[in-house]
Symmetry: none
Subunit: 198 residues, 4 copies
């Protein structure tokens, strides 16, 4: 009977919040700025979220959720370990293009003092890393001494960091191509065979 919630508005709020957090940091993403960018009334986002903190937490959760889903999808495919790494990096490359905002957003918040990936999502991530670790060891593609955190760093942090360095032009390089992809896969898989070659 009343007019229905305009989902587009909520979507614009989320989008605006993400963009502003990415471009100005959490502090720079003021409620007023978000509302203005979303072309929405100042206090409107409080219809959906009880606080700015929780809005951003929810967005982080969504972005991480997206990543976890893709990760789990890849992990369930019946492919070799090397292919897994390749597909994973390829997926991240694509995300960095098609969901650039999500990648940047995660990058910014994973390192922000006020935020943390929630403990249940951390558990999920850890579980995937553990499965990958097992698979890698079974295929002899991975040194016995490695731990989940090594997987996490090399398969997630490493590519995301590199992509962000490129996006920020940290070393006068920007963009990426198939060569980068191959090189990174090589570097990564080589790292996992560490002790074998010492």
């Amino acid at each position: 009977m009343a007019r229905p919630i305009d989902q587009a508005k909520l979507e614009r709020i989320k989008q605006a919040a993400k963009e502003l957090v990415v471009n100005m940091g959490y502090g720079g993403a003021s409620i007023a700025a978000i509302a203005k960018k979303a072309e929405v009334a100042d206090g409107y986002l409080y219809r959906f979220y009880p606080s700015k903190q929780l809005l951003v937490e929810d967005l982080l959760r969504s972005s991480v959720h997206l990543l976890i889903n893709k990760l789990e999808g890849l992990n369930n495919e019946n492919i070799s370990f090397r292919e897994l790494v390749y597909n994973l990096f390829e997926m991240l490359f694509e995300m960095a293009k098609e969901q650039e905002l999500d990648i940047k957003f995660m990058y910014v918040l994973m390192n922000d003092y006020n935020f943390q990936v929630s403990s249940d999502q951390r558990t999920q991530i850890r579980a995937v890393c553990a499965q990958i670790l097992t698979k890698g060891k079974q295929e002899n593609a991975m040194d016995k001494s490695l731990h989940e955190e090594d997987i996490f760093i090399m398969l997630i942090v490493y590519p995301i960091t590199l992509l962000n360095m490129r996006m920020k032009n940290f070393f006068d390089k920007s963009g990426w191509n198939t060569n980068d992809l191959t090189k990174m896969v090589n570097l990564c898989t080589a790292s996992f065979l560490s002790t074998k070659n010492q």
Copy 2:
């Protein structure tokens, strides 16, 4: 005459600012809190810095400067590439203990959106990475295809990230020891030999 006193106060201000930024985030480190911790009047730091932003920028610059110096020092020693990596990581491990504040401070600010490593320091870092790259290639310890940014990521970002994961207890691991050191050196040097082993 009054100089020594001033310097001590300035030093206290810097220390207080670092500690508060590390422990409370940039937003949580209010001028009033910094001044109180430094036992100095609220407005006093404006004798040295025109704004809070510039104070913190200066501190970041100092911390990065310290890191660059150590990096250059290591690079000038007449040692093998593997030893270089070992010494570098060892140095970072020690910094993480003895200058935990600097490590954390850099970590917090390198990813904060309001701050950036200055372009001249970025150039310096790049230069050191380039030298290390050259050395590594000369010694056949490094694949031809590698680039300065790979050096940077594997030699700087990787260990700092891991140390921070441990400090933040991301995967229920905290602290680090010599085993970690060896493992990391192995992983890192192996990664640099990537294509060789494919």
Copy 3:
């Protein structure tokens, strides 16, 4: 046709508003809270009242109206002055039990700075007080020097204040009984004979 439904809803709104004003204060009684408690849409009450202020004013008017009615009823009975006082206090005691809400509501709003008993109701109250005054003087139950406001204070403000002190547990007393009633009547009627006994 739809009228009965409307009336029920309006009644629920009024009741909810009263309860919330009494329990949370004017500020705490938000339109949203009132609407929710009344199980009615947020904007619905604007069909009946142009503003929250006017809604509450109307409720105050009703409560005062109820009181005035009872007052006038008592005054028209053919009883002695002392009986009048007794019946009046008894009536207030009962109201405080059966229409606790109205008593509290009046108490809260009569002293709230945003509200005032309307001047016509003030006139009515004054008229009743004047009649009681006349009756009292005729029966020699009341000193010549007394004025309508003395009637008002002793017959209305005094018992309501006492009831509220009891309800608020101001002096570790709560509740009231027939003893209190008799005592109050005594105190009140005695006060009206003031100069006689000096």
Copy 4:
């Protein structure tokens, strides 16, 4: 070395707060309005009080403290019970002229939903009332059945209510004089002899 706190500013803040609470109610006394009236920067009062609530609580406490002091002073004088009542009312009459704001302020807040006289001050008030009660009974000026709360209502609430009615022109009467004083003393003392005369 720094400029000293301008006590006049703090005083202006208190005064402005009191005036606005009295004239607009707690809700109407916005921080911005208080600051403007006090000719002081918006957030300045937070140097002295941690919140608006606590500012007003402090002011209430001061006003009540003033009243309690005067009450205790009167109670310690070696005078008859009737003189005590007379002096007390006279004192309130004077307060209502010279500290009109304090009287009004107390009146408004004692009935405001968000405030209460603190429990220690309530204890003090009760103690004074108890002493007066004892004195009155010793002098046979007071019925045995009376309680502290009767003292409080007749000696404090009654005159303050009347003064406020006059100040608000509730019944087209304003101001007060010696006649009122005498009349009120009579009424009050008579009320305390209630059962004697039944």
